[in-house]
Symmetry: C2
Subunit: 318 residues, 2 copies
């Protein structure tokens, strides 16, 4: 039996946001169109933030309009850091937002200029004022913070508790600086799943230290089936110039496919988008599959004595 | 309790072998010296092959002489593909060899110009003629072959059986083209461990598809604690130009350290070797840590409620 995976493509937000030069809005639209053509159904298309803070996202309204008009069948997500962003997203007919709070208070302050209390107050207001808005809570710096190192698991649990009590059933654990290990991922997931057994947990890993897929595989072992990735491995963080960015969509799709999971995304389609990005935005993409032969003509698991998708007692997925 | 890991550095063989331009022998020696200074105790320093086939290894004797003379405290390994190579290694006072057979018959033919029978005959002769030689059997294309795709697990088991019957207690599973998934790794290890419970199994992964660390973490879960890696992520295969090479030593050391294992290798020391290689051999190293901030000033696992090295019931290592 094939097990389903949900991949949310975050390249147009997390990826583009880290590109210094302005990307023409038409190129962004073209890339989004090609991602949708590759089978992407969940797509973080932009963020509602101050254009002064992040000029690359200044065309948010145009991007939203294009996606809602051209791709009514997909679910576009918009990242919002506060009440104002959520209201603007809703005003622009967005139904799904990712609301971000950083577990590290220092990073929350640096990243979105808010204390934890202010962030939680905003979340409360959004819940009250926009009850029909589908909110996923994106928790930044769960696995480490560039300022303080380890973040406090109890603070994380308190934030999740607040969300849970206010009807937010989805959280995404973000490895903002890309340092998570598979063991750390297993342990943090276990703590959350024990405390909040019914909450829907997703993973948003970065590949800064090369462990993104390893931690995502650990996530699969813990029953996680929702992952955020960026085509080409775009993204990253300003603290690590030259380092790898988000877990790459093509690398994740390849791993999931090879492990018997189905993301309903075409690897070839995603690789075409990677090639387009390489040509137009960043010639030095660090995703593995954009540099390697895919060997997709082979089924490496079909060898004698290794029947396809027979996971046996090895548990991955739900 | 800290668990021990053995890393065998294969950069001077698997890495250098894939560099087109000749590397000066003195630079090779310098790199080896720095690897030893970083704490590397197991080191595949060269291969005994025809200099016509692999000109980069033509200085094998000089490299061996240097290592035996300068670093009597480490264990140097030499890769050998046949009787002649093993004899030459022994003649040059080498005590440990990695003898390579490819599970794919086509790859064995292309790589070392031998049928399986010829390779096994040679292994038998080496065992007879050089009984004091410590032989590790390196099995190439265990996880996939560039010519035929999946390789036959039963052929692999037959080769291991032959080795086992002839007193070879160590095998290294090599993902020659870098396509293994963590699930595939768990499954192949389980098959081998069930058939040969007392054999010492190591892993030699390539990062072509970005899953090297993921598969090594799966290896840890299966009790594997011996890994071959290459500084800087050097290596790779001629079938994937531009793609990532071997699992990078620095990335592996970082992951192991972070997961509470001890390789007795200095991450900073390995990173100095990476920097030297970047400067002198390949400016575009793809290892993660050579591109990223290490954050080694932090202990990311020290957060409240996540005590250090408390693996709990999550099993990694032996």
């Amino acid at each position: 039996m094939t097990k389903l995976i949900q991949i949310t493509e975050v390249g147009p937000r997390d990826g583009f946001q880290n590109i210094q030069d302005p990307i023409p809005t038409t190129l962004k639209m073209n890339i989004i169109d090609n991602l949708v053509a590759a089978g992407i159904k969940h797509l973080e298309i932009t963020s509602m933030v101050s254009p002064k803070a992040i000029p690359q996202m200044a065309d948010a309204r145009e991007v939203i309009k294009h996606v809602l008009h051209t791709h009514p069948q997909i679910t576009p997500y918009v990242l919002v850091p506060n009440v104002k962003g959520a209201q603007l997203a809703a005003d622009n007919h967005i139904t799904h937002v990712n609301y971000v709070i950083s577990v590290s208070p220092l990073h929350n302050q640096a990243n979105i200029n808010r204390t934890h209390q202010q962030s939680l107050d905003d979340l409360y207001s959004i819940r009250q004022n926009l009850p029909e808005l589908d909110i996923t809570l994106s928790l930044a710096t769960v696995f480490g913070c560039p300022f303080i190192g380890a973040t406090d698991v109890n603070v994380m649990l308190d934030i999740i508790k607040f969300a849970d009590e206010h009807g937010i059933g989805k959280i995404t654990l973000c490895d903002t600086i890309g340092v998570a290990t598979p063991l750390q991922t297993l342990r943090i997931l276990r703590v959350i799943q024990q405390a909040f057994p019914s909450i829907d947990v997703g993973l948003h890993m970065h590949n800064t230290h090369g462990m993104a897929l390893a931690s995502m595989a650990a996530g699969l072992q813990s029953g996680i089936t929702r992952f955020e990735t960026a085509v080409g491995g775009l993204g990253g963080c300003p603290f690590a110039p030259g380092a790898a960015g988000n877990a790459a969509t093509e690398d994740a799709v390849n791993m999931f496919n090879r492990m018997g999971f189905d993301s309903a995304i075409s690897l070839e389609g995603v690789l075409r988008v990677s090639a387009l990005i390489k040509e137009t935005i960043d010639p030095n993409l660090l995703s593995s599959l954009s540099r390697a032969r895919t060997y997709s003509e082979f089924n490496f698991d079909s060898a004698h004595a290794m029947p396809d998708n027979d996971h046996g007692s090895i548990k991955y997925g739900k």
